[in-house]
């Protein structure tokens, strides 16, 4: 039944995919070009020892992959979820069918996962084209990026479906997404942060996604427990989101 809801989103997407392609393609190109090549040429002149001896492009590219997944996850789970209740009422229509609220949620989440996979694949392709990839392990950064995105998408969808007005999103984006994007070891290593701030970064999901993607792209080992720890953190967050989402959708749709 989840599948039926997912196919609905596919049908919708067939109509609107053109506009989304631009953001999927241009996003990574802009970031890799501006941050990796532009800013990178400055950084590289001053030595890259603190980056682990790799070029800034190679350092920042996997972080762009992970934070891009966060962005996609957030944007696919915020407005579209809210709008499916308030604007185009896709959920309200679907509700009258045999689909249960949980099916409607999971079907939409499956669509979000598909969008995450598409965007991550495009980003990895550009990373490779820009010469930012150092290891074939990067193929595993693909599922990791999807998982990172879901760790955001699932809890946010659970929150968005209960929201009464859209102002809350502004806070999420401004006070949640922005700092995460800046302070999760994305554009500079965490070692540059003051010591007291580092535990905060460790607690944020994006940092785990960045560390994993970076290790896979650079071909560095995090050790078995390190790798499993990071994956588990993201998986637990996504699972909590999926559990909470089912409950939230039921609460909101079955009043």
């Amino acid at each position: 039944m989840t599948w039926a809801a997912f196919r609905c989103w596919l049908t919708v997407y067939r109509r609107i995919w053109r506009s989304s392609v631009w953001s999927s393609v241009l996003g990574p190109v802009f970031y890799l070009g501006a941050m990796g090549l532009g800013l990178g040429s400055l950084v590289d002149k001053h030595g890259t020892a603190s980056l682990g001896g790799v070029s800034y492009l190679a350092f920042v590219a996997p972080a762009i992959l992970a934070s891009g997944a966060m962005n996609t996850g957030m944007s696919e789970a915020s407005w579209p979820v809210f709008g499916s209740l308030k604007w185009n009422k896709i959920y309200i229509g679907a509700q009258a069918s045999p689909l249960r609220p949980e099916d409607i949620f999971r079907g939409h989440l499956m669509f979000m996962a598909m969008r995450l996979a598409m965007n991550a694949a495009v980003t990895i392709a550009f990373m490779w084209a820009f010469g930012a990839v150092r290891s074939a392990w990067v193929v595993l950064a693909w599922p990791v990026a999807v998982l990172t995105g879901l760790a955001f998408a699932a809890p946010i969808a659970a929150y968005a479906v209960l929201m009464r007005n859209e102002m809350s999103f502004v806070y999420i984006f401004r006070f949640g997404l922005m700092p995460l994007m800046l302070f999760s070891g994305t554009f500079f290593p965490l070692s540059q942060l003051p010591g007291w701030l580092r535990p905060v970064a460790y607690a944020t999901p994006l940092w785990h996604g960045v560390v994993l993607c970076r290790a896979l792209s650079l071909g560095e080992s995090l050790g078995l427990f390190g790798t499993l720890g990071h994956v588990a953190y993201l998986a637990v967050l996504a699972s909590i989101g999926i559990w909470a989402g089912g409950r939230a959708y039921r609460r909101r749709l079955y009043v």
């Binding site: 609905c8 049908t11 109509r15 185009n88 009258a96 069918s97 045999p98 079955y254």
Partner: protein, 332 residues
């Protein structure tokens, strides 16, 4: 618009647990003490009814009377707070999916996907019901033909008029060949032509044996479509029965409407206090006399020395029943 009303008749609300003459058959929906509360607010307050296969049943009432809450409970998207509810012999909380597979729903507000075409809307919706593409394609042709939208099949939904969207919503609700069709204010907001087309299609569905359950606050709609009605007010049934029964019980055969010079309005009302009518209602601008014979009553009015500016004799209608039972107050 508050007018003082003089009530001389009082009837107990009719019972809905009686088999209507024509369709003495299978009970599709049974409610007993059905109640829905939202916090402290009681939207539906312990109603009882049986709905039978093949009939058209209407919930009538002012806004906030509990019609839509009742419909949502029957549609298995709103768990009852208390009381019993059985739909197609199943429990809506436990077997919601199985029941919804056999229901069609036309919601109050259109929930069509305006970014898709007419045909795609039916495709997506059919998919929700787990129908195969082939089945959906076959049914789509028949349904679009039924609601006369065949030539718009490839058009986007967004620019369609309200009437066309409503017809598409009805077509969509039929994609799973439902046994019961739930319609929440099916023609609210439509122009008269569009309303008549919708009524015609709904009537045909009823002829085919589809059970119709609808809410409305249009009396003509109720009269046109419904075999039986329940007038709801404050979450309970104020009365129930066939349109004819309701008119017989809560109204008079004829109504005499009198309009006086505003200066003489109150005096006239006082003079008519003892007039031999079944009931009199004094509105801000008119006085209504509920009588058996309107012309005879008018002659009598003249005989006691009153000279109305205008007078109108008409038949008692469902609207009179409705206003009598739910009052002439203005609500939200």
């Amino acid at each position: 618009m508050a007018g003082k009303s003089v009530r001389r008749m009082s009837h107990p609300p009719g019972s809905l647990h009686q088999v209507p003459g024509s369709s003495a058959s299978e009970v599709l929906v049974r409610a007993h003490g059905l109640t829905k509360r939202f916090g402290n607010f009681t939207a539906v307050d312990g109603i009882d009814f049986d709905l039978y296969r093949g009939e058209a049943f209407g919930f009538l009432g002012p806004n906030g009377a509990g019609k839509s809450s009742t419909m949502r409970m029957i549609g298995c998207v709103s768990p009852p707070t208390s009381g019993e509810l059985t739909i197609l012999g199943l429990d809506p909380v436990r077997d919601g999916s199985a029941i919804r597979a056999r229901l069609g729903v036309v919601p109050q507000e259109d929930t069509l996907d305006v970014e898709l075409t007419v045909r795609e809307n039916l495709l997506v919706y059919g998919r929700y019901f787990g129908l195969s593409r082939r089945v959906i394609r076959e049914r789509t042709e028949a349904l679009l033909d039924f609601v006369q939208l065949t030539d718009r099949a490839k058009d986007k939904v967004d620019p369609l008029s309200g009437g066309l969207k409503r017809r598409l919503t009805i077509a969509r609700s039929l994609i799973n060949e439902p046994e019961i069709l739930l319609l929440d204010e099916p023609t609210t907001g439509l122009d008269p032509q569009a309303r008549h087309v919708v009524w015609d299609r709904l009537f045909r569905l009823k002829q085919r044996g589809v059970t119709l359950i609808l809410t409305t606050h249009y009396m003509d709609e109720a009269e046109q479509l419904c075999d039986r009605l329940a007038v709801m007010d404050h979450g309970t049934f104020a009365a129930a029965g066939s349109p004819r029964e309701l008119i017989r019980e809560y109204c008079s055969p004829e109504v005499l409407e009198l309009r006086f010079d505003p200066e003489l309005h109150d005096t006239a009302a006082d003079k008519l206090e003892d007039f031999p009518a079944e009931r009199m209602e004094v509105l801000a601008d008119r006085i209504l006399l509920y009588v058996t014979d309107g012309d005879e009553a008018l002659a009598l009015v003249r005989a006691i020395g009153l000279d109305p500016l205008t007078s109108l004799v008409r038949r008692g209608t469902l609207e009179d029943v409705f206003l009598r039972l739910t009052g002439r107050r203005l609500e939200d």
